[in-house]
Amino acid sequence: MIQVLIRVSRRANDLYGIKEILKKYFFLCYNNYYKGGSLMEFIELKDVYKVYKNGVTGLAGVNLKIKKKDFVFIIGHTASGKSTLIKLLYREERPTKGNVSVGGIDVARLRNSKVYKLRRKIGIVFQDYKLLPKLTVYENVAYPLDSYGISSKEIRPKVLAALEQVGLSDKTRSFPHELSGGEQQRVCIARAIANNPKLLLCDEPTGNLDPDTSKEIMDVIEKINKELGTTVVMATHDKDIVNRMKKRVVVIKDGLVDGDYLKGSYKVNESD
């Protein structure tokens, strides 16, 4: 009797395993063919339009594909639509028309109540750092993980690793107002990468920094891209950085992709 039971349970286990494999297989197929993206396309924008309520056009039919582990600059003049593009990727804005897919998630159709699931897979670096002034560096970096309900024990190594990555291991107990702009931005980066995101979105991260500090910050971000394999999409209008880094460059003009240049093939002219 017992042997029969064991046999039945084994059989059930096998069947469960097969079911899981089939599920995974179908999921891959679904992602590949029905969501219109290959596995290599980590981010895909198809015919994306964004018109704001006040009638201003943010994007006017953008098509863009970004592969995993890529480092892409989004450049353009003020109000060209580059910030809108970044905001669409972390679903701060919804496209008026078109599809936006990030890591297999259909961002445009994502319900408000589920947006947090997307954002947990994305790290965001802001121009104004968005740090909490009353929290220390450590607490600021731990803040998101803490709010996910992760235990302090699990948080600690993640935070320390992130702070080490940005070179701020010795500043864990400082408060944001005690840090320089560059250091504050590094805290912001550490917070963004603490949860090992697959994608790092940077919206003008060096906008408030001097050239030397900007260079430091860019080094940190490049290191993250190379060492952790995090895909980086950065909106900027810092010409020096773009020229120096020699990465893929997507130029946005009047809400459209004006040019897409592969690594190092783009050179910003002073007149641009």
Binding site: S113, I124, L132, P144, S147, Y148
Partner: protein, 301 residues
């Protein structure tokens, strides 16, 4: 474990925020206190009215006067007929001779009664009938009136109805007042939570952007409303338990209650604990409801 951690953090955050916006929190708590005390008074009044009404109904008897020419056989027959009626609980007979004797013994009436002949008796035989169910009293009275040799049937229908209608008015008035006050309190709590949300806008913004779930973002504000409601219900609960017990003991020691008879305060045990629980629930729900509105309206996640 994760849920407990999140709930614990929400609670701590809510407490912090209560202290941070102390003046506003106190205003909301005070408003809750006033409202709930009034609710408590309303509850106690309603409960007492119900009890008093019950007492009055219990005391309510129908008095039946036989016609003067009714013979003793007829009286006995009427008594047994009365006892046969379903709604009749008890029948007490008072003969006209008893009444005459009673008056004769009463100093005020002795002189008048003594002028009467020994055989003359101006009084009537009467029955006092206690009914089982006051609601069916009208039917019972109609049945009695249709019986033979019945002169008049009296019961205090008008005065009872009057008292009950006065009580009903008081009850309705209390409910309207309390309802209005609950709304005012809810509005004040909504405002407090709104200000908390505005003062923490930056933090909420960051939470949203770093992927905190909506529930975790909203929970501290709902907890804060809940806390305001619960804190606001403590004093009204104490008021209900100790205040009412005190009033009851003072009132029952006064002779007034004995004179009035049926109008005595209901004993505290029957009401204070249920009323306290109700106040706590009402406070907590009002707080939650109000903060829920604020969160829905002002916390866009």
């Amino acid at each position: 474990m994760k849920v407990i951690r999140i709930l614990g953090k929400s609670f701590i955050n809510a407490c912090k925020s209560l202290v941070r916006n102390l003046s506003l929190s106190l205003a909301s708590i005070t408003c809750t206190i006033i409202t709930l005390i009034l609710v408590s008074i309303g509850l106690l009044i309603s409960y007492n009215i119900r009890e008093i009404t019950k007492n009055i109904e219990k005391e309510l008897t129908v008095v039946i006067f036989m016609t003067k020419d009714a013979t003793s056989e007829e009286v006995i027959k009427t008594k047994s007929d009365l006892e046969k009626i379903d709604n009749v609980e008890k029948v007490i007979f008072t003969s006209k001779d008893d009444v005459k004797d009673r008056f004769k013994n009463d100093e005020k009436w002795t002189s008048i009664i003594s002028t009467l002949n020994e055989d003359d008796n101006p009084f009537q035989d009467s029955f006092e009938v206690v009914v089982k169910n006051v609601r069916d009293i009208n039917e019972t009275v109609t049945t009695i009136k249709n019986m033979d040799k019945i002169d008049t049937v009296k019961y205090g229908e008008n005065s009872v109805n009057e008292i009950v209608s006065i009580f009903d008015t008081i009850k309705t008035g209390t409910i309207v007042l309390v309802g209005g006050l609950v709304l005012v309190t809810a509005f004040l709590i909504t405002n407090t939570i709104k200000i908390t949300i505005f003062s923490r806008r930056k933090e909420i913004d960051i939470m949203r952007l770093v992927g905190t779930s909506n529930t975790v973002i909203k929970l501290p504000y709902l907890t804060e409303g809940l806390l305001i409601g619960i804190l606001g219900s403590i004093i009204p609960i104490l008021f209900t338990i100790f205040g009412y017990t005190l009033i009851y003991s003072k009132f029952s020691s006064m002779t007034v209650s004995n004179i009035i008879g049926v109008i005595t305060l209901a004993s505290p045990e029957g009401i204070i604990y249920i009323a306290s629980l109700f106040l706590l629930m009402l406070g907590a729900l009002t707080g939650m409801f109000a903060s829920g509105i604020a969160v829905r309206k002002y916390l866009k996640v």
